[in-house]
Point group: C2
Chain length 396, copies 2
């Protein structure tokens, strides 16, 4: 008399989590220095000093009831104002505090938003490669999860494939840029073309199609690449943001939903998000973290991205020199590499035999590719390179 669907979801560990745990066990057997774990996307650089300072200052100087008390469901108004001002100053946007709803990270932000859009027969579209948790988020709300096959040449968007997947039931398209797992940033040109298609289709179907911008990696971009603010390109966009990666606080569960005024039925959607949040047990986002996030935004705090950048360059240059094919990532902290024989599941197993842990891309919708996390110790990358080299040589 338990929900078999929930049991199945709990019993099936993600491939990433299984690899990570295998790596921990294997470290005990062969020594941590002989395991090359590229499985998990856990920030490897500490939170910025300004964040640490803000924590301690708030805890020592402010009143306990004020910093630890319940906030409004959407969050403290002063913190929401800080977030809105931060967005406006960077993107010349017109975001008000009333557009911001703080959440316990990006995952419940996505769930609340998806649930707010859950009407009979509705579909949510994702673009491969995509974050695997989108599927349970969509399907557990009774909606159909459909996928646009990947543009494996550039990991932008295959527009013919997109058009083929849009139906009158499409409620929203999830856009994740900088992308997990490809590390690619969608260009403004890509987003404009996407927006034009969605606008045309919205008119054709007689209802709005939203973009859900899932942006935990917004601040992680390299080579001077700018990450476009999607509501400026396509107004019917709702942003789900997380401070997990930008402030190296993944365990602390702080993020927000931004429903801009320009989005269709903005206020009604914001209200529906608040209602949906209630049903998933949202009371407020962690109160101290609301203040820390607001101060970090005001202070322009960001982690030392150079470490990720150096890892990215070292891995990209080494792997491509060995003959691996990979679209050069300019964001996030991942690389998505083509398996030499086109079967990433088999290649990842082969690598596992050498204690090299890489994530096969099947769960991301791209079974020919494997994901490497670049948020790792550079020493481990150096030690791993000979294994990467040996593996491709053994196949070619």
């Amino acid at each position: 008399m338990l929900s078999e669907a929930m049991y199945a979801l709990g019993a099936k560990k993600s491939c990433i989590r299984e690899l990570f745990e295998y790596g921990m066990r294997q470290s005990a057997v062969v020594g941590a220095e002989n395991v090359y774990d590229f499985s998990i996307g856990n920030p490897s650089i500490p939170a910025p000093q300004k964040v640490k300072d803000a924590f301690v200052r708030l805890l020592t100087e402010r009143d306990s009831l004020e910093i630890h008390g319940y906030t409004q469901a959407a969050g403290r108004m002063d913190a929401r104002e800080a977030i809105a001002e931060g967005l406006n100053s960077r993107y010349n946007a017109c975001i008000r505090a009333q557009n911001i709803f703080f959440t316990c990270g990006a995952a419940p932000a996505l769930v609340a938003l998806i649930r707010a859009l859950a009407v009979d027969g509705a579909e949510i579209l994702a673009i491969a490669p995509y974050f695997p948790e989108y599927r349970p988020f969509v399907e557990s709300n009774g909606m159909r999860f459909t996928i646009v096959p990947a543009d494996t040449d550039a990991f932008q968007i295959s527009f013919s494939a997109l058009e083929a997947q849009l139906t009158p039931h499409t409620q929203a398209v999830i856009v994740n840029s900088p992308n997990n797992p490809s590390g690619v940033v969608y260009t403004e040109e890509t987003l404009r073309r996407l927006g034009a298609i969605l606008k045309r289709k919205s008119r054709e179907y007689g209802h709005f199609i939203y973009i859900i911008a899932d942006e935990p990696y917004r601040e992680l971009a390299y080579d001077g690449v700018k990450v476009p603010f999607i509501p400026s390109v396509y107004p019917d966009t709702v942003v789900c943001y997380s401070f997990s990666k930008s402030l190296s606080l993944p365990g602390e569960r702080i993020g927000y939903i931004c429903v801009p005024d320009c989005a269709a039925e903005s206020q009604k959607l914001f209200t529906a998000v608040a209602g949906a949040a209630r049903t998933i047990g949202h009371v407020c986002a962690p109160s101290l973290l609301q203040l820390v996030a607001a101060e970090a935004v005001q202070a322009g705090a960001c982690p030392d991205l150079e470490a990720y950048d150096r890892n990215r360059v070292m891995l990209y240059e080494a792997l491509t020199s060995y003959g691996y094919q990979c679209v050069k990532p300019t964001g996030a902290f991942y690389m998505f590499v083509k398996a030499p024989d086109g079967d990433a599941a088999a290649f990842s197993e082969l690598a596992k035999g050498e204690n090299l842990l890489i994530v096969p891309g099947g769960d991301f919708g791209c079974p020919e590719f494997f994901r490497i996390s670049t948020c790792v110790a550079p020493e481990m990358i150096e030690r791993s390179l000979s294994v990467f080299k040996r593996l491709i040589e053994s196949i070619n």
Copy 2:
């Protein structure tokens, strides 16, 4: 094309929240000292010093990646062990770390557990007076929410009413003790009788009926009253706990689900809870707070309950001396008082006219009663007493 159900939930503010916001507005008009706001259950005493010390020590002495990193979905093993040991030392229970699943407070704990029990046609039973959010938690998971009418003499359980509400579809009974809104602690005798009925009915129906023990007020008991540990009385019990009230950290969203080994299908249920948590966007509970909660449990930290106790006694003695009828609360920080004319909605409106804000009990399933929060400033209580007196005199 939005979910009308979610919109409706977002648009309908709780009566408590509306009163609270009215109080804020009215304070600006007549002065804060002339508004007597007993509406909201926000702890009024600071977090214990040991909690503050733990926060600052962890932040200054421990590694950023360790304290702020992702944890396992169920939480850090060391923190789960601390919680299990704390329960074992106090209740002579047999809880293991593997039985503990940290959550972002009691609300998502309840939602994950209820969702794990959501099978076709299932019902969840609550005992009036009950916390109003149970209804959306149950109904949004497609289950029927049914209510056992209150035992208004003692606010224990009316067993004949309970038996009448049990059906072969009953999956679980939610037990909230110390109770919000009555402040009453269910006696061991009450729980034993409840357990005996559920055991008999489980056998009759051919499936287990769980008790969901919603225990955010476990540590808030007065007059030497002991709060029984329900799994020791009825094994098929799952505990949903929160540190919001016991550590005065309501905004921080830290709690746990305990699925003890003695509960039917314990491991399978734990797994289903983990799956259900995924679908509501749970990644992990706030990581720093897991450590703070563990240290607080190990240090036996608890807030200065004397302040709540003094408020409770002052209000109870004054109100009953004026002629109000009220079961003396021995837990939580609420009193549930009978409206002099039996219509708490009308009486609360009357009180609102005098800037006295009390919560009518309709949403708790007891429209004859109103709730008073005793987690308030004692000076406000003193100032309010003449208003309480005048109101009952005006009716009698």
